[in-house]
Point group: C2
Chain length 233, copies 2
Amino acid sequence: MGDSKAQNLQIPRRSATLRSMVEDNLRKAIASGTFKPGQRMIERDLCERIGVGRTSIREALRQLEAEGLVVSYPHKGPVVASFSAEEVRQLYVIRAELEGFCGREFARHGSREDIAKLIRAVDAFDRAAQGDDQEALIETKTHFYDVLAQGAGNIYVTQFLTSLHNRITLLRVSSMRQPGRLPESVREIRLISEAIAAGEPERAEAACKQHIENAARVAIAQALTGQSNDAEE
Amino acid sequence: MGDSKAQNLQIPRRSATLRSMVEDNLRKAIASGTFKPGQRMIERDLCERIGVGRTSIREALRQLEAEGLVVSYPHKGPVVASFSAEEVRQLYVIRAELEGFCGREFARHGSREDIAKLIRAVDAFDRAAQGDDQEALIETKTHFYDVLAQGAGNIYVTQFLTSLHNRITLLRVSSMRQPGRLPESVREIRLISEAIAAGEPERAEAACKQHIENAARVAIAQALTGQSNDAEE
DNA sequence: GTTGACAGATTGTCTGCGAATCTGACAAAG
DNA sequence: CTTTGTCAGATTCGCAGACAATCTGTCAAC
């Protein structure tokens, strides 16, 4: 019967709670660098700045803690997570593995629709790479990774990758800031989409891994020289 | 200077907070089946049964929620997570991928010490498989997976696998309950340890994947027939 | 049988409070 | 001058109580 489009009526049951909004706010604040790695996050400050009670703040912090975005020590409170060079390396290693998996599965089982979406995502990123709108660059690239993860059809891999991406944006070592890296990056992800569209799992996996490994090299180099982590003061 | 063994003096900074103890309790309660999938977890009940205030309960629940052990809907409260057959399938797919990664990396970079630990873990599991102490069986097998994950030397993979294992124990579809599966299981993990000890990454990875895929077959079959999930009533 | 209203249960959130704990400063002792 | 001891301030930890918002089932009315 007329239930073909029924699910579109769903009201966003989510976001109804204050806590989840606080959570999103804090996540964005951390990602955007408002709070820097190593910096303390003091309950009462957050209460005032966000305008909610301690309950909501504390519960939101527990979630971020579980996600690895903040670390908290008993009786000292939470601080924004920071990473050693070795941890950054490991982060990229596992990310390469997981995105490689996505590429492979996508090429194997991806729907025609998902593939079209992926290609559009690459095109959008390409266009953004021509201009110099940093905002658009990040957004289109994030979208590409979202589509890539989605296409693999595995909710757990999506969750894990989201978690990894959050920690990477926190690092603020965008490999795209490296001169000459941007066009190369475009080429790489186009290779990925082409391999997936062609339905070649091994090539897609290899392309994904290659892409992340290249990004990792730049990121680790930056992490070593910059040393903007810690943020002791 | 005499700092060679200094770190052993560290006091367990952890576990100082009530919240973390509540968290562990609940995790265990869920894993042991005290709370079944689909069952509601009512704050005040938990307060009484555990003997702590609502604050601690709620914050612990937020962590478990982030781990995927419980799901909560606004104004309805948290329920123990339950999984569709498709989700179980996906769970094992990604688990195979991650443990395969562990096997490969372990074989590549594992220390002599870690390898010895791994072999001891296999022996312990083998011995447990001879007896019929269900408790020991689970414990030794869990230990084996811990050592395997540890040996890969990647903290993120360890985290992710822990998360997956937690959800699987919640499922209570121990593939070991299948008649004949146990000795086969022992053989499989011995193959893993042998490949790692021999330093053969590809073979180790394949053995890991094979092992999980076999377990998955049994688990999914059980999940389909049993249907003890949902627990609507 | 459908609709509507109502009551009970439960969660979401805020607030005040006291205890426990960490931290840095400052004085006392060597 | 360095080490040690003490103390006060800041902050988290956890509890209890309160109230609004929301969900759920029931039961009467149509």
